[in-house]
Symmetry: C5
Subunit: 374 residues, 5 copies
């Protein structure tokens, strides 16, 4: 029998402290120290280097002046990080706050020198918790910075492609790299949806056999997960649209058909989510009606057995009564008050009457359709 | 009695592997080898030829230089296919990926030299599974390529009309052929909807007689099928609208009133689907209330019988008690503790009291309306 | 007591055969032979003539060259009809197909020489079936053709007004005649809605007294009828709007305020339908809660009676037991195992205990509020 | 204890007779004879006069040539009224029909010489019926006509202000007077909503104590009343918007900020209605779950008592059986078939076993949590 | 065990008296006397002064002619306040009415010399009541007035920042101060949502263990609170949008990115509210199905015990009957009517039969799955 695994939505709350100066950085609890990897590439060149700190970056840029850079930062729990970007790259305070505030909706904000984008990474981790991680991007003409909450290797395949020089990835500048990362994030939505969809199918199968509190609970969890995915996919779609229509020079023209493709994927994600949401709704409806059906079944058994035997027991009770008209003095029975008891075939007749009553009731129940197993 | 057949939504999943290079072709599991048929036609000419491979196409075009061509490709499970179109026709990689990724929503994408369109074919196959098949089109000025997932003969009537030269089909260029194929796909939606609608009517009839777990399950299946059709029809409608408003020269002006007609059909499909969805919702509601009604009926039987006989049985029990004030030594009865037992008509009186109680209860239940059969 | 009549939605299905040449006419099953009446009128002239066939039309036009004509065609089941319009009036094939395909949504299509419009007539016929009939119009500068599915006399009052020359009807050209016909169709929506609304009120009244499977079924039918009316009224409204904004010379300027009036009526229809739909929803909700309430009542009766008498019966059963410590040899009773049985007032005490138990239970139930009749 | 009063939606149906000439006046059943009051005012002048008939109007205007006039007409059940306006003021037939047809939605129609506006007055009358009355306005440069269905004094405060010359009312022309009347109508919506809201609070309080069929019915009535208010407020809002954006000279520029204020009030009405509608929905949900909870309680009592005593009664029944192996001739007992009956402590042991069974069941139910009162 | 606290929505009703002159001030019941604090600041200057009355304001402005002023007014229950602003600052009557009418939706109104804005402050007070307080703003080039209903210290952190000169707050004029106040109000929405969200989690946990009337009631309260927050956040979002797009010189260009940030926060609030609303809906659904599940459990216990013991009791009853064919004269038993009673092993056989019946029933119930604890 298929086993149902418990799906759980991980929730990390970044609760903004009301009234702090806007643009002031507030690290969320449990944020990680940054790990920085610099990927520098050109048509035929590819370098990958782990940096100890952002201060090595200057030197790194100087080393590869003609190459395109993608600086992959995982872990955002260091105030120095934000300082660096404010001073070196003149990034607006509010943008830095948004990188630290991990509750952003997917969006793209255009600034004079750079673009700021947010995506939401959704995936199931080993403990079956659904992670909802924020990935932010700063897009400069020659450098792309990506900021990831955790150390997870979700974007590994992009790095692999970059390493191997497959496809357009090394040729088409930073905006194509930005697209590649966003695209893999959306592709991961499909993986998650299908995983949840498989669970739903198992639940449906089990439910049809036997309604169950746990199945109901699990269905509700999946429904919520679906709603969460939709909540990420809608603004993701809008973001893609904004990028396609953007007139910023930072987004190269040849990247746009690819963004359109990701836009279509977002639409497909939303469609799938809606389908599965409808499935959960119908499962919940079916569960309710199955429970009611079961109750009917239980009640029918009770009613049939009680209705047949309670009247019979009454009859038996009657003939267990001790009525006898006795002489109060001698105790001698003057008259048989219940002559049936003392007739020759009283017992047989009584049993016969009982049988007739039982059979009539059975016929009644059978005609009501209560004896069939459904 | 009408029999309910089990409707099933076939689901083929094309799960995009996250991170593969965009535009790289990924064949779905169970995809079929292409079968190619070339139809070449003019006002008075008509040739139909099965091609072994796409390489024969060049030769074929040369043979009929003045004719219009429709190349009907069924089965898309061959990487060579995609290669051919990329090299010979300079089709964009993402378009080819969309042909292979069979989860596209209906859409029309305009490129400089060609149009790319997707339709979704929905039909019930022999095993009562609802197929949701993708049909893609590449529209060039003189050639139309169509890519179908399976070998099904859904578009047969169009071929028949082409063969017989009926209507405008041979005169009006490739965009009219594209319209003809799309139109037959939308017409098939009606066939499917009415088939499902007939099932619904049977279910409603059965349900009114007796609520049933299987009927409920079946209703939910049909509801989901309706939602699936709507999900295909909405973007289909948008696609039609895009084609009507398109300024591409590939879509001839005289085709547009026909596209408007298909647009209207899409609207009718959506209307019908909404109607039937409402029917399913009301069936589910009715099922729930019917189950509750049945429960009421069952409980009434139990309550009436128990309420009447349980008190009577109690009385019988009382007079089955062995109370007697005896002399502990001799066992002689000193006093009749329960004088009713030894009175002359105790039994008759008791039976009379029981009858009165039973009749009073019957009157009570009759006034409550519990004795009527409804 | 008000009686509930069964409302039924008549459904005629025109199932398009997939793949027939677009514009080819397909008569629906049960379509009727056309009956043609020609009304010719001017400010002071009025002629009404039944025509045998459309071929007499030419002659008719010649007879009244200065008058305005309305050709009222009822019954559309004759292929010759469509031929005639294609050849004589150069009407587009798709328009003719739309006249024959009786599932059109209300719409207005503008062509160079004429306008094509569709309305949906909704009314209850004698057998309480709701008819959903299509009426199509071809508007030429001096002639209006109307195509009605059945022979029903729904537009009779317009003919009457025309005959009597009341109002603007004879003065204001063909577009005013088109408006008059459309307006009466929308007015009939009100009649239908109020008829259904009256049924709803009766149902509500009955429901409050006693929940019932048939009432539920009837409510659902009315809900569906309401949805059907809304489905006709929305595109009707859009059609009115299109006509008001149309720049076609075929729609005279002075007709437009009247069209605006019909537009307002459509809005009122939609409002009314929404109101009544809300009523059906609340009836369904109330029905469910009434059923549950009844169940509660039934269960309370069962519980009270069972709870009181089952323990008492147990006590009676105890004192019906035959325990007695006898000498195995002589059968002489050595000891009264159940001394209560043989005590002087055992019976009275037992009855007293039973009474106390019963009274305590009554108090318990009374405090729970289960003894009140609600 | 708070008492629940029965709220009732009064429904007057103006059923348009299909096919009457558009613009022909049809008086609704029970319409009242007009009572006419003429208010004439200037910055420092104020006259109020009851007119016998509209024919006195000409004379009245002549008497106060420089003043602004508001002619307050209550009761619209006189065909002469409509005649007068058609002839004297050249008001369009359709406008007059709209005044008589009391089912109009709030709207503003601009004509060359005048504006026609409709508002809907909603209020609870003395018998707790919610009235939905139509008030129509004809706005001319120097005269405002208002047409009210009934004789109710809803606009009294405006007359009072006019009399006392408070605020801008005497200075700012007819459009400000129109605004004042519309504003008071919208203000009355609040009064009605809060009255209904107070009922809801009482219901909620009662419901929490005890679910009840009448409460449910009342909640549904209030829900419908809320929907009716929303149905008036939405087009009222649109009307306000149309008036603000109107370029008609009849609406003075300085009136517009006031109209904006009424627009905001409409939005607040809609907000409040939505809030209360949500409350009704949650009350209905809670009622259902409360009923189910009660059922659970009832069933628990039944189950506990039955489960404990039915097995015990069985045991008692067993020892009430008369088994004894007797010599068929002499009736002498050869063997005690049920030796327990004749053992020394059989009775005690049996009672002990019964007690143990009862206690075990109590423990079972206690651990299930069925003994707690919730 | 987590304890559920009762959440309550405080409702203060400002019921507009219909018909009062528009712009006339009506103080709500319980409104407070104003407390006025004047904050005057520049890049390096900061003064904070409590004013006795608004009359001291003139003098205050003169004292700090070059500084920017924020006049923080808490408590709006003084008619003199409104007089002052009408006379000194020529504020429109309707604006002043809106300040007093504490039911405004968030909005921004532009006037020639000033802007008028409304925000809604939502927070939980000490007694766990959710306060919904109105804060209004009048923005002049050098002075910002804020009007708060109560004396609550919600904006304290802004004052703190102003005092300490942190961030841009002292540099960026009145529109930045307006933004700061609005921003802290929106930030407080998050605090409230998370507080409610924590309650929801506790409820969910408790609910899974045991459905409960109080939990249901609490869930409904939280749902309503969520709806109330959404009702504040939507127009708040629109207000932000209006301010961003406003061309008024009163809103400085450099404030706009900050307003965009608050706009994003509003969107996040709406998203969160939707998520939690879905959670409440699923809790209500789950509660209903849990109650039904419990009922099933209870009924199963009743059915199993009744079904097993009722037939057995019947058998025991049969053998408790006193049938015996006696000589009416002597009372001598002529024939054993119930020979089983007098056979050698009758008792054993009967007990055996009972056991078999019980075991068969147990098997039946076990196969139905009713014996498992779920």
């Amino acid at each position: 029998m298929a086993k149902i695994r418990r799906i759980h939505l991980k929730s990390k709350k970044y609760i903004p402290v009301p009234g702090v100066s806007p643009g002031s950085i507030q690290l969320y609890e449990g944020s990680l120290q940054p790990k920085i990897t610099a990927y520098s590439y050109g048509v035929s060149a590819y370098h990958c280097e782990n940096l100890e700190s952002l201060d090595e970056l200057d030197q790194h840029f100087k080393k590869h002046p003609t190459l395109t850079h993608w600086i992959d930062i995982r872990g955002i729990g260091d105030l120095g990080l934000y300082d660096y970007f404010e001073k070196k790259f003149k990034v607006h305070k509010l943008v830095l706050e948004d990188i630290a505030n991990i509750q952003q909706r997917p969006k793209i904000d255009e600034y004079d020198d750079y673009l700021f984008a947010v995506s939401r990474m959704l995936y199931v981790d080993a403990e079956l918790e659904i992670e909802n991680e924020q990935m932010s991007f700063l897009l400069f003409p020659k450098v792309l910075f990506s900021f990831q909450e955790n150390y997870t290797d979700t974007v590994e395949p992009v790095i692999h492609r970059l390493e191997q020089g497959k496809g357009n990835i090394r040729i088409s500048g930073t905006s194509y790299m930005l697209y590649s990362l966003m695209d893999i994030i959306v592709d991961n939505y499909f993986t998650l949806i299908y995983k949840l969809g498989d669970e739903l199918e198992t639940i449906e199968e089990l439910l049809y056999r036997k309604p169950d509190k746990t199945l109901m609970y699990q269905t509700q969890s999946i429904k919520r997960a679906m709603i969460m995915i939709r909540r990420a996919a809608w603004p993701e779609r809008d973001k893609m649209n904004d990028m396609i229509r953007s007139e910023s020079k930072l987004i190269h023209k040849q990247t746009k058909p690819f963004l359109k493709d990701t836009y279509d994927h977002c639409m497909q994600v939303i469609d799938l989510v809606e389908s599965y949401k409808d499935v959960t709704t119908s499962l919940i409806d079916m569960n309710l009606s199955f429970i009611s059906n079961r109750m009917n079944e239980i009640m029918k058994v009770l009613t049939i057995i009680s209705s047949i035997f309670i009247p019979l027991t009454f009859i038996a009770g009657v003939y267990g009564m001790n009525f006898a008209y006795q002489d109060p003095e001698t105790g001698k029975i003057l008259k048989h008050n219940m002559p049936e008891l003392y007739s020759e075939n009283g017992y047989l007749y009584t049993m016969g009457v009982m049988l007739v009553i039982a059979i009539m009731q059975m016929i009644y129940f059978w005609r009501k359709g209560w004896l069939s197993n459904k």
